[in-house]
Symmetry: D2
Subunit: 344 residues, 4 copies
């Protein structure tokens, strides 16, 4: 089959012919990939930024945002059968460790991550686990949801954690309305009654946020903290979701957080710094957020089926993966996710 | 001033000329009533059903759903001044008992209830407490919100309690889409991502529910339990909100509740019965719901300001209160609240 | 192997020689039973009360409170190996349905229950799932914990659910300090700061409760409601745990519940009845409780390892199971659990 | 009356004769101070570290940990009468702002803080609010609890927030078992089932922690992170309570925190720093903690009445306040709180 593989860090991946994967374990499944999202993390992987952490042996197949059709299932799989359209949670989890048993499978002690530390889904077929598959509702196409598998799920998870903090009297600030942020916005509108304030450097992106339902838009610039305080009676927001996490949004995000409030960091690259005296006297918290659980993915798919979350995408045949990569690198996909279609 | 007073249980109230109330305590306020909601509970009060529970001395003024304009404030009032437009929480609470201190003021140990156990707001002026007043946002008129003070707040409170039980994968059934139920519907849509299923005997009311955003509508009849099970993969709903609470909805509501789920009772008149064996083997709970807290009223007003909750009303001059009462008794106000206007 | 089997409802079980079970599925395990608890539910099974609900084919082996030593594991088992001492959760769950995925495995859509709807553990060996086994800590013996697998886990689960309702300012009433209740008492003392009030008909049992740490003891008789109100400033308890659930404790328990409080029903046989008007005006809830989840069992074992939960037991060789059954039937085991030892 | 007043920052306070305070507002109360705790924050106030933040006009009276006997109450006070023994919450709050109304009075928009921004309790009498007073249970003496009013309440509050994170399977690390930490330890043991690991530089303090019930003790030194990881299967603790918050405990505390876990900062002086990448990939949170609410103080008093929290104290006559201050400065009060007695 065709597959997009990294051979050497720092060099572009290539489209290779490789053997199709085969089932070995009882919960294994083989999925024909109908759509695979391209993510900024893929660029970091190609650059080698994840090399030491993942420990993966080259060459291997990229792709951690996958959706497709089940073609074969292992002996113990009872929930799926060939022909089922599915979206795939990015983690393969054990189901037996304490974290899995309490539903917190993202902290599985034995997880692996196709496309990061083993062969991923930028290929015609993917070997994964029945535990990773969510069956798609009627009318939901793999190409419409693939990028929700990781990017969307991360945004959803942060919002889900914040739901108890966001009654309708509260304000949620969202910094960065790009690929993740615009999903976060839609989840915040769907799952909470809070007033949502969208911040971005890009006016066009802000306009899209407003169309999606953001209650206020504020241009992110040197005056952004003052503008948020001004919009919140001088007090700041109960929750600030930072989908950037670098270039100074860390300090700005904390400064926009109300006393007693929470700064949620989802984007990364920068550093959070705070005097313990400020954390205490203002009683503020800084909350890290990983990708969502399988249960979170079920919720995100329910929202998608009801049309409460939609994704802006541009499709490419799998064989044109390198074009998609250079479009992403060159900033030619603002607020849009590139989706690779192996069958195109 | 003019006031609607009960003189004898079982007889219609009369419109009397009575002295205006005066301030005595430091947190007292006098509110010029701009709008007073008429509620089915008022009919029960007139009938005498609340006589022994309230212990009130006749004659007294009806009216527990009040909104208006502050005209005078006590010596310790720091949050209001004459001219402020306000909606009034139906309880006057002490602010000092343990329940008040934890924000659970509905269970105040020293509360009173204007219109039930002391003079209410179907009058030109009402004496209440600064602790009961929520200032209205710009553009929100007392006549648009008065009926949210009790009926709406009760519906909101039940939904607010259920938020942690209602992710987007869950189903909420609402039985009875009348005065309270249609507010509950709007709150469920605003505060949760759950699929909402509306049940009512009346097709026109169901149609309105659909317009307000209900995801499904089911006619409430002898087949309703089967229809709900059919709409929920045979499992029932995670939460059933029963805004009727009599005529058999109690048993039907429990039968529509999923294993592990919650039956919320808001309407009253009937009786809940369940074998302990069923409660345990299905792990179901039955949850009673009173009116909301002051904090709940803040949230409901935030939703109202943003247009996420609206109320269908018909207005009457205060002097035509008896017409409003007979319209309500005769069923001529389906899904609509009667609002008395002292200044009209 | 030897096994205690029911051949005909209404007749005593017999000790039979049956083939040892064998592994078929990838997560199957075979456990040599070191200790099997005898439970009142076993008496109900023998009587035939569960016949229609379980649908089991006779003859079959009793026993749903099991602990022992792993002797063989299926091909996909990674968490256990032969020689491990384990306690066995009473459910065999699928691990793949939405309930399992969120950690709520007690509501697994595909669960089975050894000793109820398939062969149980009153035998030398039991076939179950790796998903059901919790490895015992050092120094914890199967015979000390077997009866925690179901009875103890049910009591723990109810208390765990009530933790958010029980700050140190609250009162928890426990009705019935027998096999389940005395575990519930220990869990309430370990997991909450609440004042715990123990109620039982039996003075000796009350004395034991006091030794275990109950803050107050009240004799359960016709005066019990008044006595609880007297001990709680006339207000009742925030949470009432009813481990009896019949003979009138249902109504008494609700009457002991404070306004805004919760009546937890764990014991069964009777019926809960409440006017919707009372439920609403007092804002009380009635909460059903099933056995705990796997995660609950992990917590109960942690408490047991630290000596915060202990169980009073009397042991019998498996071959004397009928003696244990008649001791239990005759009331000769007050506050003590009968434990069958296959190796004795 | 005698009072300990600051006249100039950087110089010792003096014992002055000043007029007794008088009541002006309806919720005012005058309390005869029976015991006033001396706190490290008092040293910082004397040094001038709080000068700009508090904006107080010198001279003024120190003392924010106060307990005593009510001698006079304002016109609207219904919950107290002269002769009542009380402990005083350190904040005077308005009771009317949204934060007060939801029970979160520590974030009152109009709060003041006797002993910090107005006259405090190191005097014979204190003017405060009825909203700040908690009546002491029988047998609880002001001198035994005064230091719980601020130091103890801060420790309690952090633990109370962490209760949902600390089932019996979890580990809580406490860094620093001094004045606050040893109360935090007792609260963690009373309110959660978690395993508690005590860390301190001082072996004697660690020994006391063990006597109070800590499950493990680890000497806090350069090897402390490794030792905690070793004690937690290499994973760290679900919650780390840092009662030091400077000298490197910030980084060490974060390193001891398990993936998915929470670092609670209570002590202050240092700085929290974390790469956003680490916060996200480990999904860790850093939580600031202020003093507890009035409701928290009710809970702390309930624990104290039942003997679950006790405090080590050394008493001084108020007139020897300067001796107490120099003992505290010189480190002659390890793990013990100095209490000033105006009547001695």
């Amino acid at each position: 089959m065709k597959a997009v593989r990294v051979h050497e860090y720092g060099k572009p991946p290539s489209i290779d012919d490789v053997p199709e994967p085969t089932i070995s374990g009882p919960l294994d499944i083989i999925v024909k990939i109908d759509a695979a999202g391209l993510c900024r993390t893929d660029l970091h992987i190609i650059d080698g930024q994840w090399a030491s952490r993942s420990g993966v042996t080259l060459p291997y197949i990229l792709g951690h945002e996958n959706a497709g059709t089940v073609v074969e299932v292992g002996s113990a799989v009872t929930t799926l059968e060939p022909g089922d359209a599915v979206i795939l949670h990015p983690n393969i989890t054990c189901g037996l460790c304490p974290a899995c048993r309490r539903g917190d499978d993202v902290h599985c002690e034995n997880k692996s991550f196709p496309g990061l530390d083993r062969d991923g889904g930028m290929a015609e077929y993917l070997l994964t686990s029945a535990r990773s598959a969510v069956t798609l509702g009627e009318g939901v196409l793999p190409m419409h949801v693939a990028a929700l598998a990781d990017a969307g799920l991360t945004a959803h998870h942060a919002v889900r954690k914040a739901v108890p903090l966001l009654p309708a009297t509260a304000r949620a600030v969202i910094i960065g309305l790009g690929g993740l942020g615009h999903i976060g916005l839609q989840c915040a509108l769907a799952l909470t009654g809070a007033e949502v304030i969208a911040l971005d450097r890009n006016e066009e992106v802000l306009h899209k946020a407003e169309v999606l339902g953001a209650h206020r838009r504020i241009r992110y610039d040197d005056n952004a903290v003052a503008a948020v305080l001004d919009a919140t009676d001088g007090k700041g927001a109960e929750v600030v979701f930072d989908f950037v996490g670098e270039y100074g949004t860390e300090a700005a995000g904390i400064a926009m957080t109300r006393d007693g409030g929470f700064y949620f960091v989802i984007g990364y690259g920068g550093k959070v710094e705070a005097e313990t005296h400020e954390m205490i006297s203002r009683e503020i918290s800084m909350v890290g957020n990983l990708v969502g659980s399988y249960t979170d993915l079920l919720e995100l798919m329910a929202l998608t089926e009801r049309g409460q979350v939609t994704l802006s995408t541009k499709t490419y045949p799998l064989t044109r993966a390198l074009d998609a990569i250079s479009d992403l690198e060159a900033g030619r996909l603002p607020g849009t996710r590139a989706i690779l279609l192996p069958a195109a």
